[in-house]
Amino acid sequence: MQRIGVFVCHCGTNIAATVDVKAVAEALSHEPGVVISQEYQYMCSEAGQNLVKDAIKEYGLTGVVVCSCSPRMHENTFRKAASSAGLNPYLVEIANIREQCSWIHKDIATATEKAVILGKAAIAKVHLNTPLTAGESPVAKRALVIGGGIAGIQTALDIAEAGFEVDIVEKEATIGGKMAQIDKTFPTLDCAACILTPKMVEASQNEKITIHSYSEVSAVKGFVGNFTATIKKKKRFVDETKCTGCGLCTEACPMKKVPNAFNLGLDNRSAIYIPFAQAVPKVATIDPNYCLKLRKGDVNDKVCGKCAEACTVGAINYHQQDEYIEQKYGAIVVATGFNPIKLDKYDEFAYNQCPDVVTSLELERLMNAAGPNGGTLLRPSDKTHPHKIVFVQCVGSRCDDSKGKPYCSKICCMYTAKHAMLIREKYPDTEVYVFYIDVRTPGKNFDEFYRRAVEQYNVHYIKGMVGKVTPKADGTIDVQASDLLSNEQLHIDADMVVLATAIEPDKTARPLATMLTTQMDTNDFFTEAHAKLRPVESATAGIFLSGACQGPKDIPETVAQASAAASKAIGLLVKDSITCNPCVAHSNELMCNGCSACEKVCPYGAITYQDKEFRMPDRTTAIRRVAGVNPAVCQGCGACTVACPSGAMDLNGFSNSQIMAEVDAICK
């Protein structure tokens, strides 16, 4: 006779506000086999877990049902609790009455009714649960970091420091990411390159770190401790092992009018290029969209070939093809970063019509010593020095969904204060105006920094918003804006306008999330496993999050999170093995007819056939061909169970009878 305990969680008011937890506990207490049914404020707390443990001992429970949050959240917690009280952990079932009930429904009566049904289904299932023992699987001692910006670099360095191999996969020709494009950093105003480039070099020289630049992750298979990733090294038409980064090819290249992506198109580069002087790896790459030879379509044609002629080490290879590398990893860290949004929907600011209306990132390049003007701030249109600059905050941030991004991009207030200050410092004759809605400066020394811009550098902060930007024939820009405090509409005759453009996750993030089976929010930021308590882990085991791919972040926060993600990854990599999933398939040899249907559908090759001797009813023996499952290889998908025509194949933890019992309980 089964003795089942039911525990209903309030989750504070998360569940209790919409589900009448007392009624649920009461209703479930009448289910067959239930010997105790109680509710508690926080089942996952120690006191809550003790309730479960005590009940297991006191009532000699043979099964436990916890009605609480998603099993993806706390199934393990309760399994551990049961285990510590002497009950096999796989005799615990979770009814998800939070994510799939209280959080999505509003009406208490119907939500309660649904919670009861979900509880009944879990009880019906637990009746048929069998004790399972988990095996172990080895952990591949290597980490994959996707994205080579400051987040990816920091994570890789920390993991390598702990003694593990790390691969960085970066889609651009160099690592460095957005930070490499930034001029100075707030709130200390030190130069971004001065603090980033040594880290880039460190990463490239660290023997534990392999950098795959100009590469993408094209496939990921497997599970925690045991991922297999396919890395596509895109053809760059240059042999990385030979190229010395001397730059002779870039000088020889006759195609000089390629918009320089590193400088955001503010100047031009050659078709064969090294993104910037401190690029890592310092290797040339040919842009096939502009290269005269490659555009021709036939590389054997006699066209151009100047770069190959100039190269003294024979690194240029017009015949190079994409290369695919397959590698096993124990842990994966996502560090795909961010981009400024496109400003097509905000042309009242004349971004597409006037070259002197720029984004903040473009301003970084315009002010950078390695930028298009060698560090002198000049207007892109006529290369003259601007004397009046207007900054517009919150362009595309805090918007209605249909217009832009609903979130605050977080970094703009601070970098705008930085820009304003740097300009006033270097060009005291330049007037700087900042239109703001709110100045948001939470962070160590942040508000002090902003106050310095106002008090020391006399930057004009105006509470209000720019409504219309009109480029004029004389080259100046009429900025029409409201000044809410003086209640007037202003017209400023500016020389330049800088838009603090909202940031969004990189476009590669969504397909990557799908590949990794990790969660994302509606803005395409990766979702952490727990907003407060597990901020650097994704809900999928073995996948960790680093930097702005998880939400807008400044550099210090990014670095902190990168190191946190690294420590989580290291925590996984130091283990020699991790507990495997015991919910694997098994075949009932007496029922198996040896048809091989299961073997054909198994994606892991976990099923093999062997001839076995069986005793037949009339005391004879017969040799029969039957299926066997290797539990270390089986991942428990269950494809075989459906393919099996004789019903011999079943899946631990999700057996035919268990699922049928759930169906029956729901439909009763």
Binding site: D344, Y346, D347, E348, K468, V469, T470, P471, K472, A473
Partner: protein
């Protein structure tokens, strides 16, 4: 197939005959038949956005329903008519409560719920005729002419309902200008209001607005400015104090197609 219901509106019958006449003759030359619905009424000139206004929306619905009954898309020329009719059509398609109230009032044989497609004449040129095709039929191109397109507020906004073009960086009139051989002049005030009906009681405000538009176009080197709206034309001509010539876009179209003299007799 290329027959459309054509709604001229009140002003095109009186003060803006040029806008109307050249629209008709050009359409004919381009192989488009325009049929006026019977007994049309004035659209009201301005769309009342208030949810509790029903009577002011009825005349536009009658026009839309007339087009629905003959099963043809509706073409408008005047920016104001276009704005009123298009907004009415948008709201009646998306606001069930309004659709119900309107239909209760009108008691049509079959309820009208936004079935008619509404084109502005410019959209017809772009989407039905095609600017490339138009270009081929131009006999008097405006070569070397720097023409500033004036959209005003009515053609583009609210963009959700009008859905003609990018509300902040439109190109339909510029593409039209290119098709008739001219050089479009881009200037920032092209999608700002001319002052509109405020001219009735506050000439100063209308002057200020229209002068701003004209100055902005002139500053960018425009030789002339074109519009689709009689009220814009009035404000820009009479109130701006500018000497920049203002024309209806249909005048230029007819001239480019070699029709203008014929109609000017």
């Amino acid at each position: 197939m290329n027959t459309f219901t054509y709604y001229p509106g009140c002003t095109l019958r009186t003060k803006a005959k040029d806008l109307d006449a050249y629209a008709r003759s050009s359409a004919e030359a381009l192989g488009i038949t325009l049929e006026e619905p019977k007994d049309w009424q004035c659209c009201g000139g301005a769309y009342t956005t208030a949810k509790d206004e029903i009577a002011t929306k009825l005349s536009a619905v009658r026009t839309l329903n007339a087009a629905k009954e003959v099963g043809r898309p509706l073409i408008t020329v005047c920016s104001a008519c276009h704005n009123v009719i298009k907004q009415t059509n948008y709201d009646i398609s998306n606001d069930e409560e309004m659709a119900a109230k309107v239909n209760n009032y009108l008691k049509l044989d079959e309820a009208y719920t936004g079935e008619t497609t509404v084109y502005h004449y410019l959209e017809m040129l772009r989407d039905v005729v095609g600017f490339d095709n138009l270009k081929k039929q131009v006999v008097n191109p405006f070569k070397g002419k720097k023409i500033a397109a004036y959209y005003g507020c009515l053609l583009l906004r609210p963009s959700k309902a009008l859905a003609m073009d990018d509300p902040e960086n439109p190109s339909i009139m510029e593409d039209f200008i290119k098709a008739i051989g001219g050089t479009p002049v881009i200037y920032a005030q092209r999608n700002e209001c001319c002052g509109g009906y405020i001219t009735m009681e506050d000439k100063a405000q209308a002057s200020k607005r229209s002068a701003k538009v004209m100055d902005s176009a002139k500053e960018q080197g425009a030789d002339m400015i074109i519009t689709a709206c009689p009220l814009c034309l009035y404000n820009l001509k009479k109130n701006s104090g500018s000497d920049l010539p203002v024309y209806y876009f249909t005048e230029l179209l007819a001239e480019a197609l070699g029709l203008k003299e014929a109609n000017n007799e």
